[in-house]
Point group: C2
């Protein structure tokens, strides 16, 4: 279903945020003379005595990591949020601020310093999923924690300062902007159709089969129609779940399996440890009901043409709105042509 | 007026977009072991035979630049937008796209390959302002051009592929997301108070005098209370103007003067050619009335601690919302302590 519009500059609508993205398919031939990145292909040891995330090592905050054997979490030594705010909200004319509180955690994915998600075994990724679930319940269960943001910054160009595979969880009192945006659109659709916006979208994508990257019994990975980043992807549960806490044992495994599948494709694309930020969007933990919500995990990878040339979201993108060159369909095609076996294991 | 809240994690409200930003003032001591950038201090020649923006040279698209003597614009050889879209809008279930058309231009700031705005003479920056005005009127006057986005990406880390000082103009049919957001808030305030939201904010900032960076008879440069980027700044005209087309000859000079002042401070901060994206937000050119709007120019610079360590807007920022460490007040203080003479001219 390659429509004519896909060949010309156009805007696509993001049904979850209500925002538009400018697509310039004719522009892929633009030469690049700008900044390039290092190709990160150094092979790491399984243990690095100077790494503050390896088991048994001591951290910047002074504590020592236990000799952990699978996914392990601890409180961030340099948290952006603190559990207590000994201050009141502030308002003075047009200046307005609110106290914010929260808890920040670090999630080590594996004790092995040399691994990343695509190189880990499915059963070990399942342990990460289980830990995310546990943290979602535990943090979300605390008073004054109304939203739990699970995310990973992978690669130096995504601001990650330690190559030992890890993600983070920032949990906080207020509901973040991106969540409020999506809540609004889920809700509007739910009120009108009494069904899940993302669930219905998923059905349509499965029928069209043009942007699907992978699927198993419980999950689908696809490039959303409104993707912003060149190889942006989304993992959606087939069941209409509001948060990862609802996954059963079998579904945890299926989630781990599809994460592995997607990230292997990513690494294979430019034969590099593919950088991205990923995050899970799910319902607030403020004990309100959100039957309209459908949880999902998104991946925002910056690489555009090669392991060393990324897409910059700068001037126009910051002041007007996001812009991309290759279309979502081209991106899906490029990923679908790749092997499902990691290039390092060939 | 250093209030208690400024010392603890808090959120600040952006009156123009209605969005919040997380501020973590206690976190500035966090050690950095991640990615560092090159310090761009190479001295450039005034003419580079291989530069496609230097006068007399030929460009990627095959054309030859005239022997221009001051600010000069031409149509982008690799435009993201094209004047014609031989296609119709597209809708299929939950997929929605619209044809988009527009014109993209490049604006060379100076014929001299070695210069940047802070190193240019005020009278030559005034020529840039005059050209922006002209382009705003000319492009905005065309049928089907309803918004004119003027911006600059400065520095390789801002995706700029040629160090020859230049900006861009992308003008288009639809109104971009960021403009719609601001329109909404300008309008709400106008309907309630019959005055300019940004004008009233400016008055309050001038009284408080805590985030002001520079001013002259016609313009003020300040760090907005809700700044996202570490040294984000905003230039606001004192008169309630909707767009740069309204500036008179004297005001053009004053605009150039304050741009020079701000960018000299920027270069002096880390003794480097300070990277940023800047952009002018002003009213659409769709011939509707927007009495509520107050035009302004914003600067989003990524550097955080030094010429080589930048702030990454990644995981949390992408999935939840923006976060910063140093407060707007600290940033203003750091900039205000610097000399007004460019460090290369000391
Ligand atoms: O047009 P340029 O300078 O080649 O490209 C730069 O600015 C554009 C507009 O902000 C961005 O879309 C590109 O990602 C960036 O590299
Ligand atoms: O917490 P880290 O890994 O030191 O920091 C990284 O992730 C954070 C959350 O997305 C960002 O605020 C930082 O800019 C980034 O460098």
């Amino acid at each position: 279903m390659d429509t004519e519009i896909n060949k010309h500059p156009h805007r696509r609508y993001n049904i979850l945020t209500g925002e538009w993205i400018l697509v310039s398919p004719h522009r892929t031939k633009r030469p690049w003379q700008g900044k390039t990145e290092k190709n990160n292909v150094e092979k790491r040891k399984t243990y690095d005595p100077s790494c503050y995330l390896c088991p048994g090592n001591s951290r910047a905050g002074g504590e020592t990591n236990p000799d952990y054997k699978s996914a392990y979490s601890f409180e961030n030594d340099f948290p952006s949020l603190l559990p207590k705010a000994p201050v009141k909200d502030f308002e003075n004319g047009l200046l307005k601020a609110e106290a914010e509180t929260g808890i920040c955690k670090v999630v080590c994915f594996s004790p092995d310093h040399s691994l990343t998600l695509p190189l880990m075994e499915e059963k070990d990724i399942t342990e990460v999923v289980k830990l995310w679930k546990k943290e979602y319940h535990e943090l979300g269960g605390k008073e004054d924690i109304n939203y739990v943001q699970i995310f990973e910054n992978k690669g130096q160009i995504m601001g990650c300062s330690n190559p030992h595979a890890h993600g983070q969880i920032w949990s906080q009192k207020s509901i973040p902007t991106e969540i409020s945006k999506k809540s609004k659109h889920f809700k509007e659709y739910w009120n009108k159709n009494k069904s899940s916006l993302l669930g219905d979208y998923l059905k349509q994508e499965l029928e069209l089969n043009e942007r699907i990257l992978a699927q198993n019994e419980h999950f689908v990975a696809l490039i959303p129609y409104w993707a912003v980043w060149p190889y942006e992807a989304m993992i959606i549960p087939k069941k209409h779940y509001q948060h990862i806490g609802q996954l059963n044992t079998e579904e945890e495994k299926a989630f781990a399996a599809i994460i592995k599948k997607l990230t292997i494709k990513y690494d294979n694309l430019f034969e590099t440890s593919f950088p991205y930020s990923s995050g899970i969007h799910q319902i607030p933990t403020d004990s309100k009901e959100y039957p309209e919500w459908h949880f999902h995990m998104s991946f925002y990878p910056p690489l555009l043409r090669s392991a060393t040339v990324k897409k910059f979201m700068v001037g126009y993108e910051m002041f007007a709105g996001p812009q991309r060159d290759i279309t979502a369909e081209q991106a899906a095609k490029n990923l679908n042509e790749l092997s499902e076996i990691h290039y390092l294991n060939h």
